[in-house]
Subunit: 256 residues, 2 copies
């Protein structure tokens, strides 16, 4: 048995909390950045859900996802305004009260000391956590994220979420990162469907995805070979490239 | 009781199918476009899930979502390659066999008649549907989408999904579209948190969201007032703008 098959696969879900995503007003940017960061940690993003700003819906999703996967990340709903209800929903999900975290209060006191308006009641809301929670540092804008069991509660603003992820880098237990190799070609994917299926079948341990596009007036597709075994992914990429070449398509390493 | 409270709310879920979204390789664009289109139809997007190319996971999500909401839309996994398994998963979810749809075959025969390669076996896969399904026209690239019960199965490539949505416009039963009014200000949202909460409480039937940003070196926020009652949304927007002005912030209609 190959190592890639023996190693444990670590999984995570992401819960995106926010009416603004479901209304189409805001284009989500957290799914892709959390996915890429998780892969660096050797953790696979296995499911995403987007739910509205509704305590019951958030709490139910948290409980479904935190038990189904090794980790759950959430983005959104931890700011100072009335529509920021993630901490309350999380407390409900865990069946604990909401308390003020002393270290979070100190962080906010420091952060707002010399800022206009100072530490208002609204801003102090951001020191509220479910009882028993730890903090996730926020180097960007003061108010910390929250870790509760295997749940990591982060801001929805993408650059703040990114800085919280950065603070967590290397701190979570994970497996081997998945390695991707992309081979592109000016081929209709339907013309090379057999070739793709055969190449995948001949290389157990890889998954090959086919992603068609239409660019500069011509059709083409990128074929993405993914595996926890980097050598295997690269060998399979080479094999696919030479098969494409034999079939009359000029392959482009790294994709088009 | 106001009309907005009496009218039935129609809901939909979106299931995004694709390893490429969960790996972070591809930035999803379907959530926002489906959300905006649904709103025009008077249907509210109430949940999104993203799952990998895995038959069991797709089928389970389909069954959970199609029973929880009025409509379910799916994107991805209906192309000609081995990783396109949405139709098979859908058939499993409904407990029916996969069959070739005669009209879909005719569409593909016409579409590929004068195209290089013709109608290959791989391309013919795109005529497969769960037994009992109807077709959704695809003016962009031939291969149709599939309607099965209250489930609308669409392509993952955003411009193809868009053309399938266009073909469905005005055909689904819905309620009143939600009207959004945006008021922006160069205000820290934490400074106006009370003002927002009070304005929302004073106008039953509206929801006010607060979306902070950092632009051109300064903080600000857009406040989005949403309601099925357009007049109420606009009145509340005016009220919020004048309250912001009184508090010393210059409001920007339409947002910043």
């Amino acid at each position: 048995m190959r190592l890639a098959e023996q190693s444990r696969v670590w999984t995570a879900a992401l819960l995106v909390i926010g009416d603004e995503i479901l209304s189409g007003r805001t284009q989500d940017k957290n799914v892709a950045q959390v996915a890429l960061w998780l892969n660096e940690q050797g953790i696979r993003l296995a499911e995403v859900r987007v739910v509205p700003d509704d305590t019951r819906r958030i709490a139910d999703s948290v409980n479904a996802l935190r038990s189904a996967y090794d980790y759950l990340f959430t983005t959104g709903g931890i700011g100072p305004t009335h529509d920021d209800i993630t901490v309350d929903a999380m407390a409900e999900a865990f069946g604990v009260p909401v308390v003020e975290h002393p270290a979070a209060r100190r962080i906010l006191e420091d952060y707002y000391r010399d800022r206009p308006g100072g530490l208002t009641d609204a801003r102090l809301r951001m020191a509220r956590v479910p009882e028993g929670a730890e903090l996730i540092p926020n180097p960007t804008s003061g108010a910390p994220g929250v870790k509760m069991g295997n749940v990591y509660i982060m801001a929805g603003v993408p650059n703040i979420a990114a800085s919280m992820l950065q603070a967590l880098s290397g701190k979570l237990e994970g497996g081997r990162p998945v390695v991707s190799v992309t081979v592109g070609a000016r081929a209709a994917e339907s013309d090379v469907a057999d070739l793709l299926r055969e190449t995948e079948a001949a290389n157990p341990g890889v998954a090959i995805g086919s992603y068609p596009f239409f660019k500069e007036g011509r059709y083409g597709a990128n074929f993405v070979i993914r595996s926890e075994d980097g050598d295997l992914a690269r060998r399979t990429g080479d094999e696919l490239a030479s098969k494409l070449r034999e079939a009359g398509y000029e392959p482009v390493e790294g994709g088009i």
